[in-house]
Amino acid sequence: MSANEMMILEDFEERALAYGGDIDNWPVEDRAAARALLAESQAAQTALAEANALDDMLDLWEGPEPSHDLLSRVLADAATVSGEMQVTAQAAAPASKPARIGWRERLFGGGPVFRPGLALAACLALGFAMGANFEEGALVPIADTAGAEIGMIDFAFAMEDDADLLLGPEALL
C-alpha cells in the first residue's frame, strides 16, 4: 500500500492493535499510507494512542537478569558436552598402526647402519693380528711365545677399548 492509497480506518486500527503504537514496527508496505491517514484522522490518532498505552503496560514486565548460578550451569554443560565430543572423536579416529620393524632392525637392532659394519671390521682386524702373531710365534723359541701371547691380548683389549670409545659398549656385543 503506497502513501497515495489512503488506508481505511478499520485497517489502521487492526494494524495498531497487532503491531503496537510505533508505526516503524508495522509492515513496511503499510507505513506510508498509515502515516497519511494519521495526519488527517482523529480516530486513527486515538487508535494509535490506545496501542501505545498497551505497549507501555507490556513494558512494565521486564525480563529477569540471568543469575550467576544459571550462567555457571550453562557453561558447565558446555564443558561437559565439549569433553564428550572429544572422547567421541577420539574413539572414531583410526587406531595408529604399530611401526613396522625392517630387516636391518631385526638383524642389528636400532641405530646407525655403520655401527655393525665397524664392529665387524674391528673383529676382522683382531683376527688377522692374532693369526699373524700365531705364525710368527711358531718360529720363535718357546720362551718368547708367552710374551707374544701377552702382546696379542694387549692388542685385542686395545682394539676393544677403541671400539668402545668410538661406538659405545654395545657395538662389540
Binding site: L58, W61, E65, S67, V74, L75, D77, V81
Partner: protein, 219 residues
Amino acid sequence: MSAATTALAGLHGHARPDHRRKGAAMAEIATPAVTAETDDDTLIARFANGDQSAARILTERHIGRVLALATRMLRDTTEAEDVAQETMLRAWRNAEKWETGKAKFSTWLHKVALNLCYDRLRKRKSSSLDEVAEPTDDRASVQQNMEADERLALLKDAMESLPERQRAAIQMRHFEERGNDETAEILGVTVEAVESLLSRGRRALRDKLAGQRALLLEE
C-alpha cells in the same frame, strides 16, 4: 607452543587430548580469538572444535532473551531457568551438526526454548486436570498473589490468561522486536497467522486490562 597459543589454551580452560592438540593449536594460531563481535555461526563452529570461550560469548549473548521468553511464557523463575539451561544444552549438543547459513542460530534457539515452554505448559495442564478437586490456581487472583508489584501482577495475570501461541507472538513481536517472518518461523505458522495471533492476543489483553489502565500507567 607459542605464548599466544598458551594464552588461548588458558582462556579455553579445557585440556584436549594430545592427538588433537597439535592440529587444534595450529588452528588457533591461524584463526583469531573469538570476540563479542564474532557472529553466531562462527562461534558455534568454534565451540564444536573445543573452544570454550565461544560458548561463553554465545551464552552471554542469548541467555537473557531465552530466559525472558521462558519467564513470560511460564511465569515461574525456576522453571524458566531450567528451560534456558536445557535450551543452551541442546545448542551445545547440536554444535557439530550445525550447518552455517541454513538457519539463524537465534531463531533456532528461540524455537527450541518455545517448544520446551509448550511442553511444560502441557504438563501443567494435564497435571491440573488430574487434580480437578484442588482449589483454583492462586496465581489467578491478584489479591492472593505474592507479587510485590501489584501492577506487574495484573499484567502477568492478563498475559498468562492468553492462549500460548498468542502469548508467544506478543513475546516475539513486542518484547524481542522480531519481524513477522522470523516470528512466523519460530512459532511454526504463516506470516498471516502471526498477524492474527497478535491482533487477538493484544485485543484480549486490552480488554482484560481496560479497567486497570489508570492503575497500570500511573507513575
